[in-house]
Subunit: 341 residues, 2 copies
DNA sequence: CCGGTTTGCTTTACCGTTAAAGTAACTTGA
DNA sequence: TCAAGTTACTTTAACGGTAAAGCAAACCGG
């Protein structure tokens, strides 16, 4: 194994002190022209690379961030990670990737791991921060910056947040269906988290704006899984008069709903129009391409990175109030809502 | 900002030496029962967490691995990362995620970054290791273990490899088409890398096994992108007598091929059967579900992790010859090949 | 030509941890 | 009863780097 090139070695071979080498590498003023040149030559000759671990220890900055997401198999989070990674690596930061597997205990373990590794900051896309806000407060107390993705609760954790406007998601989806002339617009709700509740709020608000009275049984309890949408739609199909449109709380649920509709011998969008939310990848390659409301996850990741880096590297000016950045949702019209080619 | 709890602080409050605390935490034998209990109590009281950076510096082990992939937006690599992350975090290792964006220069930069951060090992899913095998040799020379994913070239880099059997991929796809009674089976090749060449070898071998003579023009140059498949199929549609099946070198190319077929007013699989390779996510939600040959990327990531950890933590026994682990491919029959429901 | 400043370097200390060597006090065994 | 362990610690040094203080030699103005 090749001997590692350290500043000590460079200093030794040149007959100067280690500090001199350090100063050259950090562009300090008080080193003479000749010495600087000699050191630089040696550095190039030996291919010296600084040891980031040692550097981190003295500087008390690792230039490393942690990202904790609930599930690596979900394209949703991966897109956030992609946006984050790009922004973060461009600024010379490393990114420690952690998956909590939707499990609060594993999340705790990952957060502890990140703490021990002395990361400068953590971006948290928590499925379930609920149990862990004590830990999060500890972390901020230790000077670890936190940016939360898609979480508007746990307001006792002092951090920036990057989220979408979930009420607008529900509004856009529902208003679009109303604009297509649908009048019996149902909603398969999500799980009991703020996001889903706000989407339902948007649904109700858009119905009202369209002058449609919300009928009983139009809102059925669902969830964020395909099977939830399937079950929810089964229930809706029993409602008379039959609904002519449904807004599912996310895309997987919408896909489940379409399956239930087809099973019942009905057609999408002719009999029932369907709109989802989330704009998942390949959504346009489905048997019936799915109309959905999305927002840029890459932006979400990128903005999270920017907030974080601003706090870490920005001047004192950056240390102001914690921010809530909202990524605006957009409507993607495809065949399932009967709205486009 | 809360004061960080260090061993020094614990030692101070207890009136013992730092080493004593260290020994307790590392379960050394030579500490008395009473002292051990006092230290442990203090550790619990102050919620002490070891500083991994300092630990890494003395131990010369960071318990951190790097993973370098070409593209985070491609589900293929993400699945590998998922398998890797699970295995690695279960063993207490951290994972630094890097994307090379299919760019040899960025890859170099990321590898340098990982070297400076003193990672114990690097898992490399290189789109283009070509230019960087010098760097890779440097890294192994420094004692950084490397595991290459899906790469069988650069044999001068001493490392383990986890790959699939690409010839078998081509064989399975082609033999399946032959088994469906197709006789004019074309192939849209991939880019000029070993993988693609081996898939083409498998294609030729399976044709031979089926007693089909390979006709000129049946093999057209393609690539791994949807547009490559589209263009390749356009060319194939001009061949007479018309082919009745096509094996595309990967799934995106197969999707492109299907689009070209539909544009020509033909049907899949009735007129032309299509098989891809890779088994990308959501492949079964396509307008015509795609028959494909896949292999478990999670396994690939997991096996990479196992090889790596075995080398890092395993006894001397593990330091033997470098291994080539082959992940077996499997056939997924869906509608596009006319083979299933 | 002498006190003070500037220039260009070195010395010392520290970041938080572990390993190796050192050392008292307390057993042993013959 | 005393040399030779054994037990339970402490001291010292090191990992690779940075920051602060120190210090000679050259330079400068009056």
């Amino acid at each position: 194994m090749a001997p590692t090139t350290t500043m000590k070695r460079i200093a030794g071979e040149l007959g100067v002190s280690i500090t001199t080498v350090s100063k050259v590498l950090n562009n300090r003023e008080d080193i003479g022209h000749a010495t600087r040149a000699r050191v630089l030559a040696k550095v190039a000759e030996l291919g010296y690379q600084p040891n980031a671990v040692a550097r981190s220890l003295t500087l008390r900055r690792t230039h490393t961030l942690g990202i904790v997401i609930p599930d690596l198999m979900h394209s949703f989070f991966v897109e956030i990670v992609a946006g984050l990674e790009a922004a973060v690596s461009a600024r010379g930061y490393g990114l420690l990737l952690c998956s909590s597997n939707e499990n609060a205990k594993k999340e705790r373990a990952e957060l502890d791991m990140l703490r021990q590794r002395q990361v400068d900051g953590i971006v948290l896309a928590s499925a379930n921060a609920s149990g862990n806000s004590d830990l999060l407060r500890d972390l901020t107390g230790l000077g670890i910056e936190i940016v939360m993705i898609d979480r508007d609760d746990h307001t006792d954790v002092r951090c920036d947040r990057v989220l979408t406007d979930d009420e607008m998601v529900g509004r856009l989806a529902t208003a679009h269906l109303a604009a297509q002339g649908r009048r019996a617009i149902a909603h398969i709700t999500g799980p009991s988290i703020v996001h889903a509740k706000r989407r339902a709020d948007g649904y109700r608000a858009a119905l009202k704006d369209a002058g449609i009275a919300l009928r009983p049984h139009w809102m059925v309890k669902g969830g964020f899984m395909e099977s939830d949408g399937y079950r929810g739609m089964k229930k809706l199909l029993a409602v008379t008069p039959r609904v002519d449109a449904v807004f599912a709380s996310n895309d997987p649920a919408a896909i489940g709903a379409m399956k239930a509709i087809w099973e019942a011998g009905l057609r999408v969008p002719e009999n029932i129009a369907v709109v989802g939310a989330g704009d998942i990848a390949l959504g346009d390659l489905l048997r019936v391409p799915l109309t959905t409301v999305g927002w840029s996850r890459e932006d979400q990741g990128r903005r999270a990175a920017e907030l974080m880096l601003e706090r870490l590297d920005g001047g004192a000016a950056a240390k102001g109030r914690f921010q809530r950045v909202v990524i605006p949702p957009y409507l993607v019209v495809r065949r399932s809502s009967g709205g486009a080619a």
